[in-house]
């Protein structure tokens, strides 16, 4: 109950602080202004958030579309294919990866990955690099949660599949994964939410240029990076517009979690 009230308090605060942005700047300017060059006074600045929003959506959705199948398959590997010792070691490695702080990923990305990608296609800091780093970061999250979901499938299902003479592959793909559907959906959506909220790593490897990318090797900026780079000195309407960015993030997360709840409820009470 306390956790819930904390979230409500934070949400109310963010919405409250964004109100000057909505009244002084207005919803349509966030999409139709020339560029993102904010100023403390709304009439002097440009507040187009669309490229930044596109940056967040492209980077996180692309990352989860790679991390989701990889994570689920690696969880399946851990549960059903790997010998016990290998599985234990593999699970430990994934848990360690999940614990690495995001800024460490960002540092590695900036110092190792960016020069490599720069050699293939300058400038190096780009949407592509961001997707790679985000995938590496959310893969362990998805894998661990999927692992728990797969482990909670009742043993009777596995025994029934064995009794029917199904192969390991068929059991995994056609029996276990559908049975663990709701847990897997949760795993994927939580990974996606983490990718949307990632800040430090993204600031270091994405380039931070406010532009709609024309290709995967163009730099982008995300909502989280905008808040991190500018909150230190923003005042007046600029500060309010950064809170509005926060509001958009909260809204995205709420939307995804609500979707997850609805899908899970359907799966649980549906035909399964």
């Amino acid at each position: 109950m306390i956790a819930g009230s904390v979230v409500v308090v934070i949400g109310a605060f963010v919405v409250g602080e964004s109100i000057p942005a909505l009244t002084h700047i207005g919803g349509s300017r966030f999409m139709t202004d020339e560029s993102w060059h904010p100023a403390a006074d709304a009439s002097f600045g440009q507040f187009n958030l669309l490229p930044i929003l596109i940056g967040t959506v492209l980077s996180s959705f692309a990352a989860i579309s790679v991390a989701a199948p990889l994570g689920i398959l690696s969880a399946a590997f851990c549960q059903f294919y790997a010998p016990l010792r290998v599985a234990r070691w593999y699970r430990l490695m994934i848990e360690l990866m999940a614990g690495v702080p995001s800024v460490v990923f960002g540092l590695w990305g900036l110092v190792v990955l960016v020069p490599i990608i720069a050699r293939i296609h300058p400038p190096g800091q780009s949407l592509f690099t961001g997707i790679v780093i985000l995938t590496l970061m959310i893969l362990p999250t998805v894998a661990l949660l999927s692992d728990a979901a797969l482990a909670s499938v009742p043993r009777s299902y596995l025994q029934g599949a064995a009794a029917l003479g199904l192969s390991r592959a068929t059991t995994t793909l056609s029996v276990v994964i559908p049975a663990a559907r709701s847990g897997l959906v949760t795993a994927v959506l939580l990974g996606l939410v983490r990718a949307i909220g990632e800040t430090m790593a993204v600031v270091m490897v994405c380039g931070n240029v406010v532009r709609v990318p024309s290709g995967p090797f163009d730099p982008i900026r995300t909502l989280t990076a905008t808040i991190a780079l500018e909150m230190g000195y923003a005042r007046g309407d600029h500060r309010a517009s950064l809170f509005f960015c926060g509001m958009i993030l909260l809204f995205l997360v709420t939307l995804l979690v609500t979707t997850m709840e609805i899908v899970n409820r359907r799966l649980r009470h549906g035909t399964t």
């Binding site: 109950m1 306390i2 009230s5 904390v6 308090v9 560029s35 060059h37 440009q46 900036l110 110092v111 960016v114 020069p115 720069a118 300058p122 400038p123 190096g124 800091q125 600031v203 270091m204 380039g207 931070n208 240029v209 730099p219 900026r221 780079l229 500018e230 230190g232 000195y233 005042r235």
Partner: protein, 282 residues
């Protein structure tokens, strides 16, 4: 009944925590800490942060019982935090603007801003027109300025950083017209970006660049208008794009803040200033 009591008391505890947290508390005088430990918060330009860290270390050694916290975030953050009371002292790596007359300023060192490229880049110097062309996106390929046939990666500083303002002011560029490929925050991020990309060009503080180059980082400082970019030329005032680094406070400093400001601007730390490749104010 028990459950309800728990939830209600939980909400009351939370509400109290919020009310207490919202109270205005000056960072310099924190009533919950023992009187002996004095804390000073300094925020602002990333150019000055390493220098102030060294000065703070020496000050803390000579004055046990003090704690100085230093954070970067840009000159605009330094000004903003000092005005709002979040910081005791602000670091500003430029001259103060007319609208900032309410702050007390103290000169601490002189520095320059120079362009850097990767050490392996064959381009030795760039003219004023070429630099403007590169930064407005008219010149996109190193071949057009005498280098290899490859696209230029333009590294620009984020808004709110005075290195950007000094650079844009000197070249008379509108910051909105700058066409960048990468936007960075701190000076060191710029150095790392250029050092990791042989096709990149950026601009940073001469102090930071010279110090990093001496440490072995593969960057080259480009001369400006024929004058070599070095601390020596900032000192003898021949380097054209130079600036004075300041500390600012909201009002006349008193107590521990006054001691810190006086120490940082005194000859006692000139060796630290020189070590980090800045020019001390004599």
């Amino acid at each position: 009944m028990n459950r309800r009591f728990q939830s209600v008391s939980g909400v009351i505890v939370l509400a109290c925590a919020i009310v207490v947290g919202c109270e205005d508390s000056s960072p310099a005088v924190n009533p919950t800490q023992p009187v002996e430990v004095k804390q000073v918060t300094i925020t602002g330009a990333s150019t000055l942060a390493p220098l102030l860290s060294e000065i703070a270390k020496r000050f803390e050694n000579e004055n046990p019982g003090t704690r100085i916290d230093i954070q970067s975030g840009g000159s605009s953050r330094g000004v903003s935090d000092t005005r709002s009371g979040l910081a005791d002292i602000g670091m500003v790596s430029r001259d103060l603007k007319p609208g900032e007359d309410d702050l007390q300023r103290f000169r601490i060192a002189r520095d320059g801003v120079c362009l850097i490229v990767h050490r392996d880049n064959s381009v030795e110097s760039l003219s004023r027109e070429q630099i403007i062309g590169i930064y407005t996106g008219e010149i996109r390929n190193w071949q057009e300025v005498g280098g290899t046939n490859a696209p230029i990666t333009v590294v620009n500083k984020a808004e709110g950083r005075s290195t950007l303002e000094v650079f844009a002011g000197y070249f008379k560029l509108d910051t909105r017209k700058i066409h960048a490929d990468v936007v960075i925050g701190d000076n060191e991020q710029g150095v790392k970006t250029v050092a990791g990309n042989p096709l990149a060009i950026g601009y940073v503080s001469i102090g930071t660049a010279e110090y990093d180059r001496e440490s072995g980082i593969p960057i080259r400082l480009l001369p400006l208008e024929g004058i070599e970019a070095s601390v020596k030329n900032v000192a003898n005032e021949t380097f054209p794009m130079s600036r004075t680094l300041h500390l600012v406070t909201k009002s006349q400093p008193e107590g521990i803040v006054k001691d810190v400001v006086e120490f940082a601007t005194s000859p006692k730390v000139h060796d630290l200033v020189r070590e980090l490749s800045f020019v001390p104010i004599e």
